[in-house]
Amino acid sequence: MLLRRLLDTLWLIAFWSAGLLLLLVLISILGYLVYRGHSVINLEFLLASPKGLPLGAEGGILPAIKGTLCLVLLAVAAAILPALATAVYLAEYARQEGIRQVINTTVQCMAGLPSIVTGLFCYALFVVRLGFGISLLAGGLALGMMVFPVIVVTARDALLAVNNHYRMVGLSLGVSRWYLLIRILLPQAAAGILGGILLAMGYAAGATAPIMVTAAAIATPSAGNLWEPVMALPYHLYILFSQQVSLDKAYGTALVLVSLLLILNIIAMWLRHRNGR
């Protein structure tokens, strides 16, 4: 009995420390990034182009911020309509269990697709076969393919969370599912869907592997041309570190990237939480 007590206590300690460890990991990651990165961040860092030799050792990261913004917007623009249509089908229209299961499994498999495989596919298709070259467009489409399942799943769940009484009452009046969707269900699920889109944006902004092979460049004069390579924050961070350009600038870039993503994630969480009520 004494042994039992002792074991129980040990397990309790294990459970609590596992939970606390998680908290500690996040705090130390963020804390360390702030500690090492904050001194680099100033207005010049945010608003200037990379300078110095090797390039990036001096100056700032503005083109990378712009490039990431372009990539993310392009990705969401490419994914949003097909993803919403798929989510609407899954939540509202799917009557045949078989088809629904196939599509649900597809979405799950797409979500599990390693990002480098997505990159490989998009490289072969867009960059080589279709002749886009390493470009913003190819990268945006690759990221679009990556965030597609994220938007589908969040939008589907947001729609399914809407009170089912609305569906029964609406449909029993004789209105079509589409009318019901536009007037009632979509507005009700809007916060959750928007949260999902922000989540997808954060996901796209942080992805490195797909753009590394389809879109990214070490330096570009301008951002925003669809047919030109772009700089991007995560790739810039990778280059600064792996080419040993400047560790300080790398910490600064990482801090900017993570802060951006945390803000996106927090807003997304708040929106999706609101949807649940």
Binding site: F15, P82, T86, Y89, G112, Y238
Partner: protein, 288 residues
Amino acid sequence: MMQERMGTICLLVAGCSTLLLISVLLFMVLESWPVWSAVSPLAFILGTDWNPLAEPLQLGIGTMILSTLWTALGALLLAVPLGLCCAIFLAEFAPQWMANILRPVLNLLTGIPSVVYGFLGATVLVKFFEINFAMASGESLFCASLVLTIMVLPYIISTSESALRAIPPEYRQVSLALGVSKPYLTLRVLLPLAKRGLLGAIILSFGRAAGETMAVLMLAGNTMVLPTSWFSKGEPLPALIALELGTSEVGSLHYQGLFAAGLVLLLFVLGMNLLLALFRRDRRSGVS
């Protein structure tokens, strides 16, 4: 009327996503086709020499597969016990305020991009090994596993937590009424009941860990030597593809070899996901 067609349109669009997934698979097969006639699939997977520029060229990804397995399995070895403890803590023991802190923490951990994990791992963990173990360079499969552990933890935790929460409360009441302690109840009753869900969580995170690119690229050392232990250097498959794709000549056997490697990775991860889908369906039909 237009409105009645919207359902069909949505179905068509949704169907296109399935087509896209299939076309990814077909495309990989197509692009890598010449490789399979040059090298037998078995030799490709088991061969340990990768030298696509030499004459005669050697295409074997055995070392990379082994590195992938070391890092991914190693990450699971660390992440599964830790993740289970966290999940149990969240589902059964954590007071409400603590759970309210930890759930957002999990979301934020998933929100940090892999390149940042890789970067921090490389500057902190690798340095730590270099200084404390007097190693010339601290990169190793073990380092990659450590960072992957943190990256897959949120997936393991949230999936296992929902598996635990899905257990009807009657089991808890009945057992507690017998006078057993809560940790005993959790380990002896709840864990076995949630077995399938927990296994699903492990499969999911195995696929994630095997497909992760940036962190392993920055941490595993990238040498093409057959890894003999967890602590040697290696080059997992995704890292190989990311590193060499840009320099391979389009249409060469090197290029095609990378697609073959991608195909192997894709088949593996798809297999994991289909297994998981099968699992989930089984479980659903199992309950009422």
